[in-house]
């Protein structure tokens, strides 16, 4: 599993990354967390507002800092 944090590195992006790592740890889940900071790459994924979060290439949220529990729900297959 690959989790992508989409954003240029602002505090909200960093918080989202931290929350994603916390969610993974709480689930004892192995995953690669990848930061995508290139704006062209972010735009190519259709993301108009950062921070965004994608799981295995599928964008799950934009423009918000998801909390740990929200990310857990996404990783469990919910939304």
């Amino acid at each position: 599993m690959t989790i992508q944090i989409l954003g240029t590195g602002c505090p909200k992006c960093r918080q989202l990354e931290a929350n994603a790592r916390e969610a993974l740890a709480s689930m004892s889940l192995e995953a690669t967390v990848e930061k995508v900071t290139d704006l062209d790459a972010i735009m190519d994924m259709g993301v108009m507002m950062t921070p965004g979060l994608a799981v295995d290439g599928v964008v799950k949220s934009t423009a918000k800092v998801l909390g740990k529990d929200e990310i857990v729900r996404i990783l469990q297959g919910g939304k």
Binding site: M48, T50, A54, V59, A63
Partner: protein
Amino acid sequence: MAECCCGSDNPISLLYACSGAANTGYLADNVARALASRGLGKMTCLAAVGAGLSGFVESAKGAGENLVIDGCPVACGRKVFENLGIPFRHFVTTDYGVEKGRTEITARLIDRTADSLAKELAHGCDCAAG
């Protein structure tokens, strides 16, 4: 260009235009570009939302407002957003004195239609139900 929401509690408005073949689609596209250049929103791809591409759909869900400009009453843009249940404001170029398949699309007409839409945008939101 993607917008960083860092420090902002007001997500941007996104502009979507008809990509149809008729003169009205051409006008819708140009009006959306004119409104974007006036800073009234960021233009993004209606077709990608219709195709269900995740980033475009999630961006629409996270936008402050989705401004959908259809070319004609077939209203493909409106149906895309209705199908997804995402709130939007809707405009149709034929409501601005343009006749599908007949009216010549000039720079003046694009400006005039953009002016009209900009005035409506300045008024309150009457978002279509999502």
